[in-house]
Symmetry: C2
């Protein structure tokens, strides 16, 4: 079957391409069709030829040099150094023997590309190798380096995976695609362990596969993979909206239990997902509460991840095309649009989204070619979830910090490593820069530093202003001296015993990690302040403190349990959330174009899920549904 | 596993039984545990011993003689003839070598049983054979004879099936029964092809499996067996509410494609199901539109059917107990009550039901030990579905018949063979008996005669009054001289060309069968009348005529298509329906005790399904759901 499809496509392409292309071979590479040519000029020409072919075949097409026309490594490097101006500051050159690409990392990648791509074209014409040009990140990101190395070191295995996948995707549907169905497996009428199965007669796709870090046991922490219609072996694809653990934390489990298919997400999501999963495994290990998977399975996941840019339509199964769009929630976060069965049905899954411009990101997209059903989050879906404006929230934050520092106290901000941390970093840096608050050290603990590095390495996902700042290096707000990466426990001791400062630490809901340790050190002193700026889910320590619990039992440093008295000031400042508030959710539903026939609400406490659904139903006359886990909803 | 369970039970029973039982063996027989004894007195004693044991083990227990203590056939027959008084009128004696029963058919079975069972006890004491006493039906039922013979001739195969089944049922659940789920596969927001899958972590049970006789193609005629969580091989049981084809018509297909498990239903349902399925196959064959199964598969189904009386609690899977209750719809129709996972959840599926006493049946049951969710039909669930009282309906019918006969016309009543036909027979017979209408021949065409025979053979399912009439033979209303069973086409010709008469003919919605033929013969004469007394589903010829179509194309007797002009009077008389009308549906929901948390409406046009659900929600503050096919609803 598979080889037949490839043969068919080969025949079609061979007929359509002019002889000058000097066709050497045609292969699948995941969703893409790769044409190998013995004439690198064709690649350099970058012309209409391939674009038209792609349009014709309705497939994504890549063109690459055939092995026979490649320079040796030495010759290629020499030529690249001749062609590229020194100002580009090339820092690394590697070769990918599988894709026949020369991977060039430079401080100023624009100069490697050249005006209208002239330099990059010169490289392929002269060396045969197609240049893949990467920016040297202004902050070194260990995780990005590791991912790049994993992919380079395993490129043969990956190539095989992509070929098999391509054959599966392009083989065509066995059955008419006359129904579409969604099964809730996690994150419905609750926050945490987001997971759902999208099914057609020909496809089985998982949308997110997260964990509930505040869960009490395996049953409440992990998605319900035991739903009768789900089987890991039969899964075609995992589509990941963003990198938070409540959306990606359980994906490695799938690879542990036999999944061999792809994860689709943006590149920023892949980097952060890897970072957060590794951290999750480490913490669980340290807490002596090991997870049902380990680092090996994260590595397997990385090898199977296919990154997609916003707006690129990609076949992910015989009858589903996926397009990712900006969701405004955290860097790389995506709304996932599924075009199913020749357009019979179009489904939008919003993931977590912010329908407001933030300091980090542009607001979520609202315009799509078609949308018949929409699954949307409802974290702040209750009609009382009217949060103050971001401006007021910033003022409130500054006032609280100002007061705390003035009285000689320390400020603890438990945050997710990704999203809120960077948002606060920018706010704090700006207010200190303009002397609105006193310049004190801002300590970053947990994965925050590394997550920030990913932000500087993927500026294309950030808001226009921030991207410009980072790219033109005028003043990279993430790289000022006030920020201090906490290294070890000795340093933590110094911090809690030292001068007034601001501490940003994971985990954001105090379900583990150093935010809990800092809390224990700081909570019994009235001068200090604890500020919640993010969602605290039911069952988490954060929620308990937020509710006003004043006496909390913890293990002391000598391993004995004692009751800690919460004397520090506890404050919740709303308005920094990466989630849309109630008004923004309703506004999104109103502006969503075209208006869907059906809206399913998820990712919220039961009451909020239902409240948002009925308000949308009343206001916009759209059918709404509020499924629970194990419910399946027919979409078409 | 299986044998282990049996060994365990054996050990337990052996310990508990006194030595006098002379235990020979213990076996599973479907849901029941059978104890073989070498002391037939124990069977005769009929005592507390077995009852207490059953209570103890929470299993149904049967006690039987061991082979070694059985008389020869001749001796047994001789002794039975000595013991039983001649008045009993024994008509047949057979032996079941597998169950070690002597099957005695008598005109007066009460005399074979004797006062307080004394005669029956004498038989087992003296012959070793346990008597199974059957009533000789007042009308010979060919289908019941065939079923009995099939079972007797295949009793070894059946015994093996029951043993395997018993082991499966009693093996215990592998997983905790912590969820219950229902998948809609047919008959939701529509009438026809009723089918749904009840699932727990340990069980998969199909509730009904019908066809839509008015369907346009396989996709709309048959239930959606392609739902991802369904597989014929993994099915534990089929539970059948009643014998109409829209509930049972597709069961033989399951046996064709590998199903080896049981069908649970009442004995009347089994008899009528077999009758109607065979007829369905014949008609489809005659119409050159063969079904995806044949008579062989009906036979396989019969061999796998386990009949249950109303009110008997039966284990049908490791974590589900089933109890059937009277539904008042047709003879043998049942409401199906499922007690799931040690009582964690109780589900009531009403099937089709009539919450009003009719001439045939008692009204549907409303009291249950526990009910958390209820799936109820909504055929007449629209708020406008207020039908006249039965009394008025009868008057209207008589008036119409009177007028038609007076003007020399014939009355055609298209009816389901089962239910409406017998209801009308009793009404007509009574009105003629009391000279309220003129005594004219009442012709019964199609399976009506045979279906009526089943009614007289299963009086225990009928209303008290009717049962008394039939049992005491004072005046069996089904057996008066006015009724004529139509034999062949020549007779049909005579009827349509002859004197005024009343014709009851299948099919009830004129989707085929002789009702269509009679219509063609009678429709162009103004003197005649067509009366609809039952539901005409969307797409059926009946619905078209009801809506007032006056010109209809049919094939003529010489095979040419010509347009027939509908000149005959066309009348719809509501109030005879076997379905509850709107008021009765609401009344049922109100009286249902205990009140469930959740009511799911099915078996109705989309608008009626929703109308009934929202009325119930508003009136009784119960959560309601109106799923479509492919939706799955979590019940617990």
């Amino acid at each position: 079957m598979a080889s037949n499809v490839l043969e068919q496509i080969k025949e079609e392409i061979t007929k359509k391409l002019p002889e000058e292309v000097k066709l050497a071979n045609i292969e699948f590479e995941g969703p893409e069709v790769v044409i190998y040519t013995k004439n690198p000029d064709i690649i350099a020409d970058n012309g209409d030829l391939i674009r038209n072919l792609a349009k014709d075949l309705r497939k994504r097409i890549i063109i690459r040099s055939d092995k026979s026309v490649l320079d040796s490594y030495e010759d290629a490097i020499k030529k690249v150094e001749e062609i590229v101006p020194e100002d580009a500051e090339i820092n690394d050159i590697k070769f990918d023997e599988v894709t026949n690409e020369i991977v060039i990392e430079a401080t100023k990648p624009g100069l490697v590309i050249g005006k209208y791509g002239v330099t990059s074209r010169d490289i392929v014409r002269n060396t045969g190798w197609a240049p893949k040009i990467l920016r040297t990140p202004p902050m070194r990101s260990e995780i990005i380096d590791r991912i790049r190395n994993t992919l380079l070191n395993n490129s043969k295995e990956r190539k095989k995976f992509l070929q098999t996948l391509g054959a599966r995707i392009h083989q065509g549907g066995k059955y008419p695609s006359d129904w579409v169905r969604l099964t809730a497996m996690g994150g419905f009428k609750e926050v945490g362990r987001s997971c759902m199965l999208l099914q057609t007669p020909n496809s089985r796709v998982l949308l997110d596969c997260g964990v509930n870090v505040a869960g009490q046991d395996d049953k409440t922490s992990f998605p319900m993979l035991g739903v009768p219609e789900f089987s890991i072996q039969d899964l075609d694809a995992v589509v990941l909206s963003h990198a938070h653990l409540d959306h990606c934390g359980f994906i490695p489990y799938l690879y542990h239990y036999g999944y061999e298919g792809p994860v689709y997400c943006t590149s920023a999501t892949r980097d952060l997902m890897t970072l957060l999963q590794m951290d999750y495994i480490d913490i669980a290990h340290r807490d002596n509460n090991p997870l049902p998977f380990n680092a090996k399975h994260v590595q397997k996941e990385v090898k199977h991840t296919i990154t997609l840019d916003y707006g690129v339509v990609t076949d992910i199964s015989p009858d589903i095309k996926l397009t990712l769009h900006n969701a405004g929630h955290i860097i790389g976060s995506a709304m996932c649009h599924f075009h199913i069965g020749d357009g019979a049905h179009n489904l939008l899954y919003t993931g977590d989204f912010k329908y407001e411009k933030s300091r980090l990101l542009e607001p979520a997209t609202t315009r799509f070619p078609r949308v018949e059903s929409c699954i949307m989050e409802s974290t702040y879906g209750g009609h009382e979830d009217v949060t103050p404006s971001r401006n007021n929230a910033e003022k409130e934050l500054m006032k609280t910090i100002y007061k705390t520092i003035k009285r000689g106290g320390k400020v603890l901000l438990p945050v997710f490593a990704v999203g809120r941390a960077q948002e606060l970093m920018i706010v704090l840096e700006e207010y200190m820069h303009h002397d609105i608050i006193e310049t004190v050290p801002i300590h970053l603990d947990g994965m925050i530093w590394e997550a920030t590095a990913v932000h500087t390495a993927r500026p294309e996902y950030l808001s226009k202003e921030l991207r410009d700042q980072i790219l033109h290096m005028s003043r990279n707000p993430f790289m000022t001296e006030s920020f201090n990466q906490v290294q070890n426990n000795a340093e933590r001791k110094e911090i809690v015993e030292g001068e007034p400062s601001i501490i940003l630490s994971t985990s954001g809901m105090m379900t583990g990690g150093n935010s809990v340790e800092y809390f224990k050190w700081l909570c019994e002193d009235k001068k200090n302040t604890l500020i919640f700026v993010g969602y605290q889910s039911e069952g988490s320590l954060g929620r308990k403190i937020q509710k006003g619990h004043k006496q909390l039992p913890f293990e002391d440093e000598d391993g004995k349990t004692r009751v800690f008295n919460v004397e520090m000031e506890v404050k919740t400042i709303e308005g920094f959330s990466g989630h849309s508030n109630r008004r923004q959710l309703m506004e999104f539903a109103k502006r969503l174009h075209p208006r869907p026939d059906k809206i399913i609400t998820c990712h919220g406490d039961p009451y909020k899920t239902v409240d948002l659904a009925s308000s949308i139903h009343r206001s916009f006359k759209v059918e709404t549904k509020t499924p629970v886990i194990l419910d399946a909803v027919r979409l078409q």
